[in-house]
Amino acid sequence: MNKQIRTILIIGLYLLIWEFGAARVSSSLILPSPRETIKTLLELMPKEVFRLAVGTTVVRIIAGVGLSMGMGILLGVASSLNRKLLYLIEPLIGLVKAIPVVSVSILILLWFDENLAPVAVCFLLCFPPIWSNTFEGMSTVDEKKLEMAKVYQVDMLSILRNIYLPHLSPYILSGLSISIGLGWKSTVTAELLSSAPYAMGRMIYNSKIYLETTELFAWTGTVIILSILMEKGVKGLIEKRSKLVGYGYRN
């Protein structure tokens, strides 16, 4: 069976189960149906508050993930070349991975305002997978090709461009794909806790306190869809890159 058809059928199945469950509960306060959720979402979408919230949250995620990419790649490369730096960073990575998002968010709120706190939380949680993947990529660069380049006295820029970068890019893209999912979760959670203005997290919080469960589902559904779309975009890049290198064709 075609993969896309299979995906559609599985989603359809889960929507049916949800619809059945909602019908059994018969209370949109507790469990709104898919139809009610989609209707509410369609009503929200033309509103300026929706566009502002989505736009601001997306910008925060891009900023946080972007920062984590920059620092993660830089320190990942540096850690692979310097053992002392590796010994300093590794325990911190372990710590950040273990701390609950809620704890990190509350701590960071003590140091940053409500606008920057979600970006800082996103950065902190997305940094470890980027760092780890970059470090692993650097550790597995083909030593034989580096040796060849050394004998032929190839300059460092050429080595970086033609040996390190092609090898590292699937690792980094893979780290990015993981970070996007984490970025969405952590940013929305931090927005909720910080009551950041014009934020999807704030909208989710408002839905909860006003007992607008259908709106809560609609906002949550929006987060899920946008997160999946971003992740798929990056995964598409990884697959395209892998195919191109595997068959020896280039972008």
Binding site: E147, M148, A149, V154, R250
Partner: protein, 207 residues
């Protein structure tokens, strides 16, 4: 200038591989070094190329900026075409038009001109090794080191590649140090022939 290795002492993991050997390599000839697997033949090449700098003794007559190396495996970059793989080692050593001219000639010499835009994934093992040989001869240098470049290649293709190497060497007059455990290759290619044997290894001149 001829190449000399004097009093080479090399230890590895506490074991002495060479205990003061001397090798004399005449300029402009193909010198073959043969011996059993694991005896230290590749070590000699790595010392000549500068890959291995942990040894005692003296190496004279080698300008490390003018050494090319054909490894046992082709070591081509997967995302570059055949001609780009050669260009990778020539960049900044020649001007652009010279580079293109050299690449064209050397690929023709190893019968790989038609495959100049192919990627390594599209080539057989023998073809990849021919590109590696072409890369070495394209590189502006005096010395080419070859470490058992015909491993896994069938006899007919091997013969053709040996002929290509001889032809290119005569044309360019480069010094080649060729390492192999195959005596037939040693006899066919070498103008001079050394054998490494024993533990620690000693070197004996055969030809």
């Amino acid at each position: 200038m001829d190449i000399e290795i004097k009093g080479l002492v090399k230890k590895y993991d506490g074991e002495t591989i060479f205990n003061g050997i001397n090798i004399y390599i005449k300029r402009g000839l193909i010198t073959v070094i043969s011996g059993a697997s694991g005896i230290g033949k590749t070590t000699v090449l790595n010392i000549l190329s500068g890959i291995d700098s942990e040894f005692e003794g003296l190496v004279c007559g080698v300008d490390k900026s003018r050494v090319a190396y054909v490894f046992q495996e082709p070591r081509l970059l997967d995302h570059l075409t055949v001609s780009e793989n050669i260009r990778f080692v020539l960049d900044k050593k020649m001007n652009r038009s010279e580079i293109e001219d050299v690449i064209s000639k050397v690929l023709e010499s190893v019968d790989m001109k038609k495959q100049k835009d192919f990627y390594p994934a599209q080539l057989s093992g023998g073809m990849k090794q021919r590109v590696s040989i072409a890369r070495a001869f394209a590189y502006p240098g005096d010395l080419i080191l070859m470490d058992e470049p015909f491993s896994g290649i069938d006899e007919k293709l091997k013969r053709q590649m040996m002929d290509d190497i001889k032809k290119l060497q005569r044309k360019q007059g480069r010094t080649i140090v060729f390492v192999t455990h195959n005596m037939a290759e040693a006899d066919y290619l070498g103008d001079e022939h050394y054998i490494i044997e024993g533990k620690p290894s000693e070197i004996i001149k055969m030809k």
